[in-house]
Symmetry: C2
Subunit: 147 residues, 2 copies
């Protein structure tokens, strides 16, 4: 099921791309079912916090009527930035599955590690899915933007 859920996150990333946003998508799963899907809308919403992960967390919390997302797992196409990584831990998400790493801003080990930080109170498990498709969506997007 892992790659099926990741594929749903990739579909969200493609929606972001179609809207001219940096293509990142995320879904949140509870008891084997997707309870929230979102993609990056930072430029459209003019909101720093409108990353795919935070929008998905907000939607999941709304659907569960609870900001505590214990027992929920996130699938995200790109390694979360520091803001999103901290929000994921503080939301009590149990685990995140990451499609590809972000060498510039990744906060799950690539640049810093906020998911398993010994000084912080809340931790979330991480599993890397090493998806070429997740990596290529981003490479293609930035290649086109640089032309």
């Amino acid at each position: 099921m892992k790659y099926e859920f990741l594929y749903e996150a990739i579909k969200e990333a493609k929606l972001a791309k179609a809207e001219g946003e940096v293509p990142v998508g995320a879904v949140i799963v509870k008891d084997g079912k997707i309870i929230a899907s979102a993609h990056n809308l930072k430029e459209k919403l003019k909101k720093t916090s409108a990353h795919a992960e935070i929008l998905a967390i907000e939607l999941a919390a709304k659907n569960l009527s609870n900001w505590r997302l214990n027992g929920c797992e996130m699938y995200v196409t790109l390694e979360p930035c520091p803001m999103c990584a901290a929000c994921i831990c503080q939301s009590r998400l149990s685990k995140i599955y990451i499609g590809t790493f972000d060498p510039v801003s990744g906060a799950c080990g690539s640049v810093i590690n906020l998911m398993q930080n010994e000084y912080l109170k809340y931790h979330t498990d991480v599993e890397w899915l090493y998806s070429d498709e997740c990596s290529n969506i981003l490479k293609d997007f930035f290649k086109i933007r640089r032309v």
Copy 2:
């Protein structure tokens, strides 16, 4: 003017307290004027991201029609958590003034430092205002909750 702006943030923290929320308030100032004020509404809105700082950032961005808050400064009663500290830097806020430190979750030096982190791309200057009132609001709140 510093303490006048901090006082406005304290007024916001008191509004949070009146609503049963952890009492934290924030204001954002541009060109000597407050352009956004907010207080913590995490429980009421059932949103992990509804901290005073992020709500103030969202409001300032809305008022400026731009998520980039270069040239803006934030006054906040409590040292931001990792999520908010990262959002502050990623929003390009120039400087934050902090009322008191948070020894449990503070991400501006108390527990970790995301404001001036050599590995991260965006930095925001920090000035500590060491306000007894900011410290006491929180102490009183948690004292009452523990009774």
